[in-house]
């Protein structure tokens, strides 16, 4: 791959739109080429700026109510249309504007940890949608760790918890928080569990829930680890404790 090909693929890569082979080929090029790496990092910073600084406007309650009213079956024959007094509508509008102002201000300033949560959920969902959630398929931790060691400065501690009901499926490398992060993939019944082993910096880390999936934080070998899955809270806590206890 030359720089011209790479330049064309940087954005689809960042957007999670490349298949595994294309993504690997691009990563191999970016590892070698400082210029393309700088371009990828600049795109990552731009993404971070837009996602953390451009406001997301939630729908005002008044609009939600309008849609709800419009969706009710039309029974105007039986019920006279009710006119809301003008002063009441004005008062309601002022109130909503006041609340919405507060909400937008709040939403417009998401902490950096929200960005990381988004990345982690997005990565997990991408992996679920891909043909395979792992790049190295192995239940053998002695295969997975060396595979990471060849690709990242620091390979994570890899354990198999098959005896406890969480067999190791394999590993992959993904992009989260603007960095390449090792991901350990486990399975529990039909549920897939991604463990992102992060750098030990001082940033705040929060649990989060999105669309039936959970993100919880634990430790793995003294490094912070994010666990993303659709497991129920109890099983997730049990698995987190296993990771935390691994030596």
């Amino acid at each position: 791959m030359d720089c011209k090909d790479a330049a064309r693929l940087l954005e689809p890569y960042l957007d999670g739109e490349l298949d595994r082979d294309e993504a690997r080929a691009l990563e191999a090029h970016v590892d070698r080429c400082a210029e393309c790496r700088a371009a990828l990092e600049a795109l990552g910073r731009l993404r971070h700026a837009v996602r953390s600084e451009a406001p997301h406007y939630p729908a005002p309650d008044a609009l939600r109510e309008r849609i709800r009213q419009a969706s009710l079956p039309q029974t105007s024959v039986l019920r006279r249309p009710r006119r809301v007094p003008a002063w009441w509508r004005l008062a309601a509008a002022c109130f909503v504007a006041f609340i919405a102002g507060g909400v937008v201000t709040w939403v417009a300033r998401p902490p950096a940890s929200d960005q990381l949560s988004r990345d982690l959920f997005a990565s997990h969902w991408r992996a679920l949608a891909a043909t395979s959630p792992v790049d190295v398929v192995s239940s053998d931790r002695h295969t997975v760790r060396p595979w990471f060691a060849g690709k990242l400065p620091q390979a994570p501690l890899v354990h198999d918890f098959a005896d406890q009901g969480f067999p190791l499926v394999g590993g992959r490398i993904d992009y989260a928080g603007g960095e390449r992060v090792p991901v350990l993939v486990y399975r529990h019944d039909k549920h897939l569990i991604d463990v992102y082993v992060m750098k030990d910096d001082a940033s705040t880390r929060r649990a989060a829930h999105r669309e039936g999936y959970s993100l919880v934080w634990t430790k793995l070998d003294a490094q912070p680890a994010a666990v993303v899955s659709d497991l129920d809270a109890q099983e997730l806590a049990r698995f987190s404790a296993l990771l935390d206890g691994a030596r």
Partner: protein
């Protein structure tokens, strides 16, 4: 689907993705009132034309209707005020203010910068802005964006590339520590 089932399907769909719809409206139309009206129109239109939904991504189908209502509102606005693109005038004024702020003390700088990203995003041509908002703020895939905008995926990619390049350039010009 029976008509009652269709109606409840549309209202569920609209309610589930109401934040996404309203956010898109805000970014395209610039104010709360017009955005809410466009989403309301879109809902009525969706309820009427639910039978035309031919499978596929339902969120993209709904957002495509919202987006069409927003574009219709933008066009109507242009007909009313043929000369002054009010949004552009306001954006230009706001940008001038932002540029002055760049010299301000460090404490103010991050707030100024926050405003800068937002203002530069608003100043993008609408076809770049909508693509970037759907990708970065709503987290839609290329396929979904293509469905919402009714353009090929290649067009989505080139619009995103232009949007990002323009935004990078604008931010680099305005801040010493360019992105």
């Amino acid at each position: 689907m029976t008509s009652t089932a269709t109606a409840s399907w549309v209202s569920e769909l609209a309610e589930r993705h109401l934040d996404a719809a309203y956010n898109l409206g805000r970014w395209l139309l610039g104010n709360e009132h017009d955005a809410a009206d466009a989403v309301h129109d879109a809902y009525l239109r969706a309820a009427r034309s639910a039978h035309t939904y031919a499978g596929g991504n339902a969120r993209a189908w709904w957002l495509a209707i919202v987006r069409n209502c927003c574009i219709a509102a933008l066009n109507a606005r242009k007909r009313v005020t043929p000369h002054a693109d009010v949004g552009a005038v306001i954006d230009a004024a706001a940008l001038a203010g932002g540029a002055r702020g760049a010299d301000a003390e460090a404490g103010v700088q991050s707030a100024e910068r926050r405003g800068l990203v937002e203002r530069h995003l608003r100043a993008l041509p609408v076809e770049y802005r909508e693509a970037l908002v759907l990708r970065e703020i709503e987290d839609l895939s290329y396929r979904e964006i293509a469905d919402v905008l009714a353009v090929p995926i290649g067009t989505v990619m080139s619009r995103l590339a232009r949007a990002r390049a323009n935004l990078q350039k604008a931010l680099a010009e305005d801040t010493d520590h360019g992105l």
